[in-house]
Every structure is written in C-alpha cells, then in structure tokens.
Symmetry: D2
Subunit: 163 residues, 4 copies
C-alpha cells in the first residue's frame, strides 16, 4: 500500500529568510521529516508546487487535481496552506475520484518552535490508510469530510460545518 | 467522542537530568504537546506511571489493564516504552475489552532532537478514532494488530510478524 | 558585577503569530533563555520596548540612551534589531558614557530553527564583562567598535568598515 | 586572528542512540553550529577525541596538551566534559604556554532541548579573543581562571574557589 504525498507548500513548509527577514519557501521539509519519524510505509513524494495557499489560482488547484487523477497510488496526502485548503478539497471532492485523499497543513511552520506540522502529518498518514475513498481534511486531530468543514479564522481551528 | 490517554512513561517522556547526566523521568510532556499541536478532540489524560518499559513488572501491566477496564471512554491511547510494548499489548488483547486501544511510544524522546514522539501521537489520535474495538500498536506510520507484530531490535522498527 | 540587559525587540525576540501568519512580538524570550543557559551572572532585565528596528524613530533611540544613562549598572547589553543597530550604536557612542555597552541581536529569531540568538547573547555576556567603557556591536562571533562597523546587507553579516 | 577549537567530546556533543536507548557519541555538532550561528571568525576545527570526561585518562589529557603546544594558533577553545574539565585545565595551566586557552562544555547536550551548549560556545569565542595568555574555563556566563574554580556538583554550576 504505497502512499503519494503531493507537496504544495503552505505554512507547513515555510522557512525563515534571514536576508529578507520574512517567511518564504526554500525547499520542502518532508523528506527530512519522514526519515526522522521512522515512517516505514512506502511513500512517493511529489513536489507539485511551493506556494502560499492565498496565492493559489484555479490553475494551481487544477495541477493538484491532475496529479491526483494521474497518480498510480490510491492513497494520497496533500500538504497545503490552511487558508484555501477547503477550496481545493471541494474541487477534489466534486471530482469523485476512487481514491482516498487527505489534505493537511499547519498553523505554525515546521521550522518554527511550537509547530503542529509533524502531528498533522502523523494524523494524515494513518487517516489515508484507514479511510475509504473520499476527500478529507486532517487538522486539529480530527478528520473532516470535504463538504462538512469550515475554518474558524478567529481561533485558527477547523470545525464541522454541521456542528 | 472523548479519548483517554494513559501515560506510562517510556522513551517518549524521558528527560535529561543535567546533574546526573542521564535520561530519566520528570513529568509527562503530553499536556504541553496536545496544546501545541492544536488538538481539539476532547482528551482525558491519566498519569498512570512514569517508568522505563524494561522495568515493567506484572503489577505495572495490570495497572494499565485496570485503567482500560475502568475507563469511561471507549477509545484509549497508551504511551509506553517500546521494549515491552508488545507484552502489554498482548495482555490487553487477550482481555478482549470492547474498546479501541492504541499503544504508542517513541524511539527518540520528545525532548531530544530528531524525535518521532509527536508523529506517533498524531498517528494514534486518528487510529483510535477510526479503528474498531481491538488492541493495536501505532509505530512507524503503521497500525499493527496486537497479535501480528514484532520489534526488530537491530533496526529499531516494528514489523508485521506475518510478513 | 551586575549586568543590565535592555530589551528592545528586533528579530531576536520575534514570534510567529499563527492567526495572522506572520512574525510579530509577543513577549521577550530573554528570561527563559537566561535560565536555560544556566547563566549565574547577576542580571537586571529591562523591558524597554518590543519593536522592529526598521520602525525605530528618534524617540525610540532616545529612550534607549536614557536607560543607559539612568542605569545603575556600568555594564549594559542591548538586544536590538540588526537593520538599524548601527544607528543606535552611533547615538550611544557619541554620548561618551563611562559604561561598557554591547548591542546584539539575531539574523534568525530565537523561536525559529537555526537561530543565532543564543550564540550572540553568549558573546555579549562575556564581551560586556571584559571590555573597557565604550559602545560595541557583538555579531558573528566578533566585537565591532560602534564607529568601525557596517552591515553587509547582501550577506547578512557585520563587517569592519576599515577592512 | 585564527582560533583553533579542539573537540574532545563531553556532554556538549552527546547524541541519543535510538537502538541502545542511551546518550553516546556519533560525531561533533561543532561544524553545524558554527555555520548556523553565522560566526565569521576564522576557525580551525580539530577532532581530538570524542569521550566522556569521566573516561579521560592521563594519556587523553596529554593529547590535548600536545595539541595546544603544537597548534599554530595562539587562541584555542577546548570543548570538554564538565566532570573533569578542571583537571585538564590544571594540566594546561601548569604548562604555562604563551597562548589563550578557554575550556568550555555543556550541562545539557546540544541535541537535547534546553541545552546551554551554544551559549557557552558564544562565551568562549569572545573570551578567547579578548583575554591575555592563560588558561580559563567559560561556563555559566562567567570566566574562571584555571586555578580559581570549583564545580558545585549539587547545583551543576561552576563557582570561584576563592568566593
């Protein structure tokens, strides 16, 4: 059971640029993290894009959808910025692929003290193995179906829309 | 769906004692970690014991079994040293409780650079919500049934016994 | 020999704001750091201001000068943003106080992986004890007199102007 | 002004061995640390030995003395375990070399959360540049002459013997 992880950037992978004094993208931390956490599940990493999800346009989301369609794997994790994660989940959900797709991300970058990135990745690695085909968001230790989730901007948390 | 986390120590929670120059136990990192990773699932923490699993005697394992039996929650995570995690899982598995029980731990302490602790906790938090009643080990990004797992001592990894 | 540390913010003390997705100021890390590094030199912490040094106006620098003049201690460390650290050092240097004053900061925040903050603090704690009265910058493992230093913006390093 | 750093191990450089479940030595963190902290002082690293200072015999200390004598640099930092750091300092002090020699170490390994290693290195890098010829210990933000220092075992701190 091979898992594909499609990397798109987001807060998860942001790094501090010491010269510009701001958070930006250098390269993904996923290869380093997967080794560190001793994950032995076969994983195929796909470096799809490295952008802030606020900068995601239709073309960016379609590139993600295309990768999901073309993937040989039936189990896919997508690392994604949290600001528009739900929009991408909706596009993927409506495509009704016969695959299990988990979107995840982080509220604090992996490179910053106090990050939730590695926890969210752990949640996603198990969710993608156990859940039936469908599109889900894994954040805050919970699994949200793509059509039953909202981001609470004030609290920085994902919640069930139906709750 | 409230989750109980039964803390028993193990490498997961070991801390460096600067005066003695060795790894020992001070207090559990679980309260801090759960807050940091923004987990919103209701969780009841139980401070059961803080010991190295090589020091676990029958009485220690029975205290864990007792906690599982008496817990009001039907979903339980146990943090445990990896050396005898399988022995405790076997005791719990044979008790055939109608609860979902996940044992997890770490090969590198949370307090040490390069730890797998937070990833394993993420794996467990999702596994305990998605799996049916039974006893499982969550390590290396995988879920092992209690009666189909061995620890590969040379590699420091858990593997399926049937593999 | 008591040391006063005047905290003014800068990259040294920046924290990630998960809700706004940017680096900002919460509170200084100095109290935590000094305890962690087991520093036993008597230190008086002064929370002067918490700002980005690009936002420093004349009034902000004068507040620092005032603190230096009024301080009971003859040995003073100032944590400061690197962008205008030299401007503040010049103001203090021209005041010709009979005190040893070290300005330091960081190119990467203490809260971010790969920070130089704690190293620079260590440099400053020794420099302030060993140097005669005067105003100096401690960065990159070097001591620069206030009137012989430039910041190399391209490299993110401090250099001797006379070099 | 080139500095030689003679690496001898000690708590500073200890790493966690996940298979044996204990702290041991892999390789020195100094090359990584010096790059991270943006130190621009020319530094020559010498990998002298990697041992616990409790295991240091006369032959080990003589190897350090030999390196100090043979070094082309007049400014030398020695990373060393704290348990017998004073014994090595005494051997070097009595040799009365015309060089500035700073011994330093850590109470908590660099690889462990809450380490004092990088702070102590910062202290040493400045001390070695500013102090006259002699042998000193840099710990706890202080500089101790080799013949006026004791280690307070109960507190895990270095103190002046004359105090």
């Amino acid at each position: 059971m091979r898992i594909r992880i499609i990397i798109t950037g987001g807060t998860f992978d942001k790094d501090y640029d010491a010269l510009r004094g701001e958070l930006t993208f250098k390269e993904s931390h996923l290869p380093h993290i997967l080794k560190k956490v001793r994950c032995t599940v076969p994983i195929e990493l796909e470096f799809n894009q490295l952008i802030d999800s606020l900068d995601m346009r239709k073309v960016n989301r379609k590139r993600i959808l295309g990768s999901c369609i073309n993937a040989g794997e039936e189990r896919i994790i997508i690392t994604h910025g949290t600001d528009t994660m739900i929009a991408t989940a909706r596009l993927l959900g409506k495509a009704q692929l016969e695959k299990t797709i988990i979107l995840t991300g982080a509220m604090v970058p992996y490179s910053v003290s106090g990050s939730d990135a590695v926890f969210n990745l752990g949640c996603s690695v198990i969710a993608v193995q156990l859940l039936p085909a469908g599109v889900y968001i894994a954040m805050n230790g919970r699994i949200f179906p793509w059509d039953d989730v909202v981001k609470n901007i004030e609290k920085g948390l994902f919640e069930y829309r139906s709750a």
